[in-house]
């Protein structure tokens, strides 16, 4: 077992320690990296988290299944819809409720829209981490279109608790389909601009190609999922391997890169935006008519047992593990959040690089801190 503990950190008393965070522009929230520097080079990184731990899992134990859903918005707030979906699917599978086809289609479309919105925000923040400030505004500009669509249908832009065990809160807005089609048309024109501005840029390529190498074995062992893991060739797309909602009905590629560096993770996300648009285009015209929710009892009691639901959020695999003792409240709810696993590889892949690379690498992992702390 000794050989696998190679990356265990050994501290020395004369280490030059810098605290990056909890308030730091490039940790994207209240995360603290304890860095040891050797000149510009980072010797080791110790992540410290828990600054915004809210005890959502404890709160879930006190709430009913309907009430859990709005709490799940709050961990990975950028992929709120997928988080909701995980709980809903877990509850529906436990009760063996067949949700209407319409709900499955709508959930898939919304998840993909949410994924695009999340990747847009990642793109702008990643550009900003590297010092290209203009990307931030271009990304936000295009994200606004999606948020407007969300606002019209769900009434809120970010934390839309739109899912409900058995279906949706209410039906879609009549303008929804047209607006989504308009957005796709618009965004297909704007996405090449992203490439011109950042992807092809020589400075950007120099800073990302070959930086922060993560091997496939590391990605699996550390449980790095999502585009970060797929940048290393880890086939971890839950949508493909364990299809849920309407993913089994659409034809899409699992984006895989084998380079495992910052640039591969970047490209994986950019390509995922294209792929998400393909998925939406396949579904948006075929939403079947029907009810927006299945018949559910007002008080949901899951049978005794434990239930696990895996969902692909914008950052990776989200697992919702519910242990039920037959009451209306769960006995234990555990969320396996993607960022929790993704964060801790940072010492492995970023130590030995420069401070500037650490910023780029942590940006390429697309960390959302509430998702780590829950």
């Amino acid at each position: 077992m000794e050989e696998v503990f190679q990356d265990i950190i050994i501290k020395h008393s004369d280490d030059y320690i810098i605290n990056m965070g909890p308030q730091h522009p490039s940790t994207h929230g209240v995360l603290r990296f304890e860095l040891c520097l050797l000149g510009e080079t980072v010797k080791y990184i110790i992540p410290h988290c828990g600054y915004i731990h809210r005890g959502i899992e404890k709160m879930c134990e006190k709430n009913t299944y309907q009430q859990i859903i709005h709490l799940t918005d709050r961990f990975d707030y950028l992929s709120a819809h997928m988080n909701n979906e995980a709980v809903c699917l877990a509850v529906e599978n436990a009760l063996e409720v067949e949700v209407p086809e319409r709900v499955k289609y709508i959930r898939t479309i919304l998840a993909e829209l949410n994924r695009i919105a999340s990747h847009q925000l990642w793109w702008c923040a990643f550009g900003m981490d590297l010092g290209a400030l203009t990307t931030f505004f271009y990304g936000l500009r295009d994200r606004e279109y999606i948020l407007d669509i969300f606002e019209e249908s769900f009434g809120s832009r970010l934390l839309h608790s739109f899912n409900y065990p058995g279906g949706l809160m209410h039906d879609l807005h009549p303008n929804f389909q047209q607006k989504v089609k308009d957005f796709i048309k618009y965004f297909r024109k704007k996405l090449p601009e992203y490439d011109q501005l950042l992807t092809g840029n020589i400075i950007f390529q120099q800073r990302s190609i070959g930086m922060g190498y993560m091997s496939k074995e590391d990605a699996i062992s550390y449980g790095v999922t999502g585009p970060s893991g797929r940048g290393s060739g880890f086939k971890c797309d839950v949508r493909k391997h364990h299809p849920y909602s309407a993913y089994s009905k659409v034809d899409f590629k699992e984006i895989l890169y084998t380079e495992g560096d910052t640039f591969a993770r970047y490209k994986a996300r950019i390509d995922e935006m294209w792929e998400s648009m393909n998925i939406i285009e396949q579904l948006i015209d075929n939403i079947p008519a029907g009810d927006y929710t299945a018949k559910m009892k007002p008080i949901i009691k899951l049978p005794v047992g434990d239930y696990f639901q895996r969902v692909e959020t914008a950052r990776g695999e989200l697992g919702c593990y519910i242990v039920s003792d037959g009451n209306k409240n769960p006995l234990r709810v555990k969320f396996r959040t993607p960022n929790f696993s993704n964060l801790f590889i940072i010492n492995k892949i970023a130590s030995g690089n420069k401070i500037a690379d650490l910023v780029a690498i942590s940006g390429s992992l697309d960390l959302v801190i509430p998702d780590i702390d829950r």
Binding site: C49, K58, S221, G223, L331, K334, S341
Partner: protein, 152 residues
């Protein structure tokens, strides 16, 4: 491998395993002392090759404390659930599996932080989210906090 084949295979390795009913995954309840041995076999046997630990959760069942491991093989695409339980609520401890799956290191720290389950041979057994001075383990059912938890 299908669940039945897996069950047959694993049952031959170690005695004392229980296979409770579970609709989703093959579920194994393993005695605490043979946890590490079984995990190592699951991880390293070429036919099983469970190389991806996708969830590690600590559960307070009321009387018992337990840890649940969700494992998947990325080559064979089969999954199983490993459960280990203890009645000892004062000083519960299990063997660490972070030598087999590196992600377990921080999941185990989280379990230690919130449920107070210690993991033997863990390289860095500190609290992850809470302060080091924090008293009690918040996710336990008998945890009392009169200020922050409002009972309804």
């Amino acid at each position: 491998m299908t669940n039945d084949q897996l069950k047959e295979k694993i049952n031959g390795w170690i005695s004392g395993l229980e296979f409770p009913e579970n609709k989703q995954y093959l579920e194994i309840v393993v005695p605490a002392e043979s946890l590490l041995k079984l995990s190592r076999l699951l991880r390293e046997t070429p036919e099983t090759l469970f190389d991806y630990l996708f969830c590690l959760s600590g559960v307070d069942y009321g009387k018992q404390l337990g840890v649940v491991y969700h494992l998947e093989s990325t080559t064979h695409n089969h999954a199983l659930v490993l459960k280990v339980k203890t009645d000892d609520r004062v000083n519960p401890n299990f063997d660490t599996v972070c030598g087999l799956w590196r992600t377990a290191e921080w999941h185990e720290r989280e379990v230690f932080d919130l449920l107070g389950i210690k993991f033997n041979n863990h390289p860095d057994m500190r609290r992850l989210f809470l302060d080091d001075e924090w008293v009690g383990y918040p996710l336990r059912k008998d945890y009392k906090d009169d200020i922050n938890i409002i009972e309804r």
